[in-house]
Amino acid sequence: MLSIKNLHANVDGKEILKGINLEIKTGEVHAIMGPNGSGKSTLANVLTGNKNYEVTNGNVLFEEKDLFDMDPETRAREGMFLAFQYPIEIPGISNATFLKTALNEIRKYNKLPELTPTEFLDRIKDKAKVLGLDDTLISRAVNVGFSGGEKKRNEIFQMLILEPKFVLLDETDSGLDIDALRIVSNGVNIYRNPNNAFLVVTHYQRLLNYIQPDFVHVLYKGKIIKSGGKELALELEEKGYDWIKTEEFETENAWPESE
């Protein structure tokens, strides 16, 4: 589904991603963990086409197509979705207008007919129920006046409405209490199937209890320095990142030319 090769990216002229390699296959869930500032959100922004993030090297294939040939909206229509770490408030645009416009654009691109108003409304009601969101939310402005938790739930709500193939969750669990975490994870698990894939960015192993990953990667200073199964998350929870950092340090010393 997604193949990342030697990805380098700059923010404000500073190199943040320093050669990422990652293969994500259909049906898989990958988790990325790593300390603050290691480049997790940068990766998410690069993959979704935020123009503030400059790709300097490497390539990414999304379903065999060159990702960097596509603008953000095309990536979305091809099935990519990012649940933002900090969802954006948009005063003056209702969730209904926002989602209807997005959904119709995606459907148009995929040569599907627009949903009728009733079909759209049914879908909204259905998915709102899954996430325990109030029906009235749909007429409110996008994320305006939403609590932190509501914003995160709204991202997953959007995911369920738009039905993407590849989903990036950027710390969707941060700031959620245990009930909200359960609801959000449930939303993800309901949606998870053999035809889609997830890349889950988190600091906490507890999310991975609910959304069980197939692979866990550690991102540190712009590189994936360790990969493993879901037990790696438990190990990180227990020991922190220091033990890997040490390994990394040693690695760098052994092959100084790699820097």
Partner: protein, 445 residues
């Protein structure tokens, strides 16, 4: 020097205008005209040296020799030709003016409550001049040559009289269509609205151009709002790039009255609005809502004024603008709180979004407060479309142009949302959409 010639041009044309009045030159209005003609000969058209016109250069208007509509040929329109210009899907009394002259055959006034007058000024002068003699030209003072020009040639325009205690349920839609084959037409509507005690009325003025010929609308609108009356006055101006448009609104409010003024400008070569309201008693409410969209080399100037002369009144003003390309916006919001006007609440806000590096806005709040127990605030912001929001919307599959236009409409929303007639609100929204997408198409070329 050039300006002097302009005055002479319009003074010289007066003779042929007068000849066309046949008989009417004995009316009281003609005295008003002749006085105004004297002023026109003496007053100069404003220049940038005039503080009130500092940011708006009217020289492009003055370099044309416009022909007052009365002495020019008036084009004939069929009902179905004007249809596309009308706001629809609600009931209204329709008044149509072509080049500022009442087009009776295109108007559909329909049934009016007893005593209500909705008519053209010229017909009133012929049939019942006494009904307006105390009112017309009583509020508006001639303070520049544009006002003098309108008054000297005042002949037709909208007249609405709503008697005491009468509520006009349906709004009055007034289409001002400007068009000509050959001449550079000068359209000079002279509007008068008199809302009696305890009355209610809504007027939608709709200024449009037919074709792309250059013309000039120079308008004066006087509005009397009686005790406990409610007047909703909408102005939607959507004209071509060669049109010049100047309107002065002069309103006076009595005790407990409410005046809502909506001013939506889609631009023209030069658009200038002066909207002035005087509070003549206590417990008055005034709301000014404005939205201006301009692109290309358009110039839109809104000068608003609320004269808080009496205690316990409130005014609330929200003006928003969206400027693209090389367009220029001007906002000057003047509020005077006079010494007697204790317990005044006055709020004013002006927000502008610049869509290009070359668009400019001059915004100036002008608060003069002479009372001590008042609550007044004002604010002006100038910004750009938010990149992060744009990316968020695009990341959901929405193309860039549409994402931008959604954000712009969202920005305009708190102004548009105050429009009380739902279908009108929708159609204004649609006009904004069309306007923005035309902008996009032009950008791509």
């Amino acid at each position: 020097m050039e300006h002097k010639n302009v005055n002479e041009w319009y003074v010289a044309k007066f003779k042929s205008f007068e000849d066309k009045l046949n008989g009417q030159s004995k009316s009281f209005l003609h005295e008003i005209r002749k006085n105004a003609l004297n002023s026109l000969a003496e007053l100069s058209f404003p220049t940038n040296r005039n503080e009130e016109w500092k940011c708006t250069n009217v020289a492009p208007i003055l370099k044309h020799n416009f022909i007052p509509a009365m002495i020019s040929t008036v084009p004939k329109f069929q009902q179905d030709e004007i249809k596309p210009f009308l706001f629809k899907d609600f009931d209204y009394h329709l008044m149509v003016f072509v080049n500022g002259l009442f087009a009776e055959e295109l108007s559909e006034i329909g049934n009016l409550p007893k005593g209500v007058v909705v008519d053209g000024l010229n017909r009133i002068i012929k049939n019942n001049p006494d009904s307006i003699s105390k009112y017309i030209n009583n509020l508006s003072k001639i303070d520049n040559a544009f006002n003098a020009l309108n008054t000297a040639y005042s002949y037709d325009g909208l007249v609405v009289i709503v008697p005491d205690g009468t509520i006009l349920e349906k709004p009055i839609q007034v289409l001002y269509l400007n068009s000509s084959k050959d001449d550079l037409v000068l359209s000079l509507p002279r509007n008068l609205i008199i809302a009696g005690k305890n009355s209610q009325v809504s007027v939608i003025t709709n200024y449009r151009g037919y074709g792309d010929k250059t013309y000039f609308s120079n308008i004066i609108t006087e509005i009397y709002i009686g005790e406990n009356a409610i007047v909703n006055f909408y102005k939607i101006q959507n004209e071509n790039d060669g049109s010049y448009h100047i309107e002065k609104v002069q309103a006076i409010q009595k005790k407990n009255s409410v005046f809502n003024h909506y001013n939506i400008n889609f631009g023209g070569a030069i658009v200038r609005n002066d909207i002035n309201t005087l509070h003549d008693d206590q417990n008055i409410e005034t709301h000014y809502y404005g939205l201006y969209l301009a692109h290309g080399k358009q110039h839109v100037d809104n000068h608003t004024f609320i004269d808080h002369a009496k205690p316990n009144c409130m005014s609330n003003e929200l003006y928003k603008g969206i400027l693209d390309d090389n367009s220029r916006g001007v906002f000057n919001g003047k509020i005077i709180v006079r010494r007697d006007a204790q317990k005044t609440n006055a709020y004013q806000q002006n927000k502008t979004i610049l869509l290009s590096k070359t668009a400019t806005i001059d915004t100036k709040p002008q608060l003069e407060i002479f009372a001590d127990d008042v609550k007044c605030s004002h604010g002006a912001t100038v910004g750009h479309l938010d990149d992060t929001s744009e990316f968020y919307i695009r990341s959901r599959g929405v193309p860039q142009e549409l994402a931008k236009s959604m954000l712009i409409r969202a920005f305009a929303n708190d102004v548009i949302d105050t429009v009380k007639i739902e279908p009108l609100k929708e159609q204004i929204n649609h006009m904004i959409f069309e306007h923005l997408h035309r902008v996009e198409i032009e950008n791509e070329q």
